[in-house]
């Protein structure tokens, strides 16, 4: 797959699926760490404007 040689000017969602290392434990571990950081950020961002327990509503998104 060498369609990535130019700048990112084209959405290539379907071709990229081939490049995603689904079974690579390192990649998954790295992804999980990143996702944890993202989730932390999003929860804090949500709670910022008003100090309400809105975090609870996010739970359905965290289902595994």
């Amino acid at each position: 797959m060498d369609c990535h040689n130019e700048e990112c000017s084209r959405p290539q969602e379907e071709e990229d699926i081939m490049d995603i290392p689904l079974d690579d434990p390192e990649a998954n571990r790295a992804a999980a760490k990143i996702q944890a950081g993202f989730r932390g950020h999003m929860t804090r961002k949500k709670l910022k404007p008003e100090d309400k327990a809105e975090g609870e509503e996010r739970q359905e998104d965290r289902g595994q």
Partner: protein
């Protein structure tokens, strides 16, 4: 980043029912290595404890001064931590889905859980996030394709939902659909 299995307590598979004070109900047969929360030394200042107590109280929707297992991760996030769901599950003793919804823990039980997360030596910092994203930087130019990042987030690791991803990526892609990941990580870490 060497993964660590047992941050504090040794794995005691033969232990019948440790009955630690914080947990509402000890599991019958701990299969995976459990964390002994009663052995966790709390290192919080009184001010911190009060902050935590306040945050904890905000999540108590029932009014019993407890929160459900499935809220624990979010409270920790609210308090500045970034635990993986796997980490939280381990701390909670690998609860079932039913446990997650029904079991509740009081504030005193929550503190050692939080301390455990804080003590985790594998916590990710700026460099870890950037390095992680750099893996997907095909041209090595500091950007990743937003579309590819979305796919990674939804198919690898602890998969994120589309809603979560949309929320996360809002305003992050440039006109070419690319994300400058160093800027992205700085943004993430600013809250």
């Amino acid at each position: 980043m060497a993964p660590k299995k047992d941050p504090k307590a040794p794995a005691k598979k033969a232990e019948p029912a440790p009955a630690p004070a914080p947990a509402p109900e000890p599991a019958a047969a701990p299969a995976a290595p459990k964390i002994d929360l009663s052995a966790v030394k709390l290192e919080f200042t009184p001010d911190q404890v009060e902050d935590y107590r306040e945050a904890f109280g905000l999540f108590d929707r029932v009014g019993d001064n407890k929160v459900a297992y499935n809220q624990i991760a979010d409270i920790m996030r609210a308090l500045g931590q970034n635990p993986t769901n796997k980490e939280v599950n381990k701390i909670l003793g690998n609860p079932t889905a039913e446990d997650m919804a029904n079991k509740r823990v009081e504030f005193e039980g929550f503190l050692p859980m939080l301390q455990t997360v804080i003590n985790n030596p594998n916590k990710a910092g700026y460099e870890d996030y950037v390095e992680g994203l750099r893996v997907f930087d095909k041209e090595g130019n500091g950007t990743v394709m937003g579309a590819e990042l979305r796919i990674v987030l939804s198919t690898l690791g602890e998969k994120m939902s589309e809603t979560e991803i949309d929320s996360l990526m809002a305003g992050q892609e440039d006109e070419n659909g690319c994300v400058n990941y160093e800027a992205f990580v700085k943004h993430i870490m600013s809250v």
